[in-house]
Amino acid sequence: MSKRWRRVITAGLVLAMLAGCSGNNGGSNGANGVGGETQGGTDGGPTKFSISMRTLNVSYVEKNPDINKDKYVLELEKMTNTDLDIRLIPHNEYQDKMVQMFATNDIPDVVQGTGGISGPELAGAVENGVFLPLNDLLEEHGQDLLQFIPEEAWKRMTDSKTGNIYGIPEILSNPSRRATWIRTDLLKKVGKEVPTTVEETLDVLRAFKEAGVEQPYAGRQNFKYADTFFGAYDVLGYLNQFKVFPDGKVKPSFFDEENMKKAIQIYKTMHEEGLISKEFATIESADFKSIVTSGKAGMWSMNANELPIWGTQLKENVPEAEVALIPSPVGPDGKGGYAHYNPVTRSFFINAKAKDKAADIVKFFNWMVSEEAELYFSFGIEGEDYQVTDGKPVFEVPTDAAGADKMRYLNYWLWMVQDTTYNKRVSELSDSGKALIDAFDHMLASEGRRGIEFDPRLEAMVKYPELTPKSDELPPLILEHVLRMVYGREPIEDYGKVLEEYLSKGGSEIIEEATKRFNEKENAFE
């Protein structure tokens, strides 16, 4: 009995070890083999590398049983002579999974980040030498990238102390991405012109209310995508909205007490008069979308490039609906708009351990900005998704949901380095697309608010999360009081006291550090 037991266990252990070892060997052999090949580069075999990518809520990606066997990935591999091993990172667990990846040291050859070199998802990987400095490689193999990507974006990828470039950025050439939307059919119905100032906008909203619109202005939790009036008064106060104040100090823009009070008063008035939902403090993104697309809202704020999609959905529900992007209402300084986005949308870092293949990886990204890539990622595979007649590509924009999913995947997700403002080739083919291009180039380009931004973020902010602004939300402490004021639970006159509270709870440390870093030009962006 005992001998048999021992044998069983020994056999089990041996099997486990064999399985473990052979797995490892197989893996490293494969990697080594390919590494050797590409280093030599003589036999022209495909460059094999792994890359982690956030799914970005793209349903084509999330529903795909194996993205590495997807025909568009295979085609991409063929065109670039590579063999990708894409590792998907779930959109909603992005930061957790990224940190896990770094903590277990299971880091792919290429890591996709969002924004600069010190985002929280990178967990300090750049400072800790995980990634390769790319300056020389770009000089040698990435000339097209260097030309295509503006200086401003490269700066975000550069450690200002050493001058090392650590990542290849995907860019947003027009950082004014959000727009004010209005139902022009309702506007006609109430006989009003497109409003330009805050006062005119309130008039229009009141007229909408009288005409029976349920939510004249679509509100949302924490003023996310509902910050039109904070924008008009230039008091958005987000991470990239620091300003030099008259006293010479660099503070978040919500320190502009006078304008902030006016903006809060606007929201309070809207809440009292029912121009915004009474329960906007608990309306989440999905509800927000359904309120807009079911025709309950008259005016709202949303990313401009959603125009073709949201517009279509709205029309399906409310056939007579007409929607347009209009210039955002302006405040006392004659300007308005929303917080500008970071000029870098996604960024790609190369693992220091993948040094052998780094040159080929840079070439892969360099190809992304070529004309061939533009055509492929805009339309798809020739002969299947589009035809070429008389030397010109002929493409029809798909109108069904599956087609739209596929376009989003190709145009936006799989095309790793591009200008993400809008897809030129596709947008030019439809009326709503043309309206979009027009809005971006002629209207949005001249609006929006931006201030000073720090990247890596201020150290004091890590210490005081309740005082730290988010990328599109006020700091929790300020937001709490502002919402109470809008809901009439605190008087607006007390806003000065809120600022004092902010300073006393650690805000003065944030301002001190911000002022110092701005004056010393240490990773501060304007």
């Binding site: 037991w5 995980v130 329960e279 403090a281 608990t282």
Partner: protein, 317 residues
């Protein structure tokens, strides 16, 4: 004399050891079967405990536990000196208390009620309806509650409207949020909690009821004198286990209901750990707060256990 005693002592010790080994040998199959379970607990419960040392370090992801610098009690000082620490602790304690007052007692009452239902089919249906919500995630539970508590379209405010009450923004007020939190927890888990009690109730000897019937005891008398005493050991054990979790109200169930209008009453240690620790990559700080919670839980459980041992004779260990 002394020598002989010594020898005898050694002898019994040897015997004892022999006995234990012999005992183990005799039941070697059982020991082998329990091995994976033991390994599981050592590997996944005890080894990770060692990771708590990062509460005393400035943990760096890339340096690891061995190379991160030691900083002593700094994180604990930071936690206790935080301007909102007392408020957060108070919220945590209040929610814990309400949870024990309502969420712990409700399943007992429900189990007793269900036990009195005579129609088996009816009982099963009711039981299923009660514990179905347990399988919903908190995100869905919060979605349902946001819907039914909505001031414009929620059923609760519609009913209140019949009695002339102005719509109440339940989720937007500090004064209602704890009720909503405890209430949603009650709705989700009350049925699930009855399972153990129902099992215990099924184990009560029916002879006792019969005998008391003959003695002329009514339903109420029976419940007080037979059912409750029979349930008491189970209640005590479950209560002791619950006490250990006093500060662990749970992150997700609170986080999904939070918004800036109710944060003054809804911020608890678990949500603070998430915001100040995990989101900011302050792992050491988060661990320090977690450790504080665990130590308090351990003390509570030890105290409650000692009291219960003295008072009822029931105890965990």
């Amino acid at each position: 004399m002394a020598d002989r005693n010594h020898a005898a002592g050694l002898g019994t010790l040897k015997n004892k050891r022999k006995n234990v080994l012999g005992f183990m040998w005799k039941y070697k199959a059982l020991y082998l079967i329990s091995l994976p379970g033991l390994l599981f607990f050592v590997l996944f419960k005890y080894v990770p405990l060692l990771g708590s040392v990062i509460a005393f370090q400035n943990y760096n992801l890339f340096a690891g536990v061995t190379k991160s610098p030691w900083i002593g009690l700094e994180h604990f000082e930071r936690m206790f000196s935080h301007y909102d620490f007392l408020k957060i602790l108070r919220n945590t304690l209040l929610l814990g208390t309400y949870d024990i007052l309502f969420a712990f007692t409700a399943p007992i009452v429900l189990a007793l009620l269900l036990n009195e239902v005579r129609l088996v089919l009816y009982k099963k249906i009711i039981q299923t309806i009660f514990y179905a919500p347990h399988f919903l995630s908190w995100v869905i539970v919060s979605g349902i509650f946001v819907g039914i508590l909505s001031p414009s379209s929620g059923i609760v405010n519609v009913i209140l409207g019949w009695f002339g009450v102005e719509p109440i923004y339940f989720l937007g007020e500090d004064s209602y949020i704890r009720t909503v939190l405890v209430g949603s927890g009650l709705w989700r888990d009350v049925g699930w909690g009855t399972i153990i009690y129902l099992a215990a109730l099924a184990g009560i000897n029916p002879d006792l009821y019969e005998a008391s019937n003959i003695d002329g005891a009514g339903r109420w008398r029976q419940t007080l004198s037979i059912t409750l005493p029979a349930l008491l050991p189970v209640i005590t054990i479950l209560f002791l286990l619950k006490i250990g979790d006093f500060l662990d109200y749970g992150f997700e169930r609170v986080f999904v209901f939070q918004n800036p209008l109710n944060i003054q009453s809804s911020e608890i240690l678990d949500t603070y750990i998430y915001k100040a620790g995990l989101q900011q990559l302050q792992y050491s700080y988060a661990t320090a707060i977690g450790l504080f919670k665990s130590v308090v839980g351990l003390f509570l459980i030890a105290i409650a256990n000692a009291i219960s041992k003295k008072a009822t004779g029931e105890s965990l260990y």
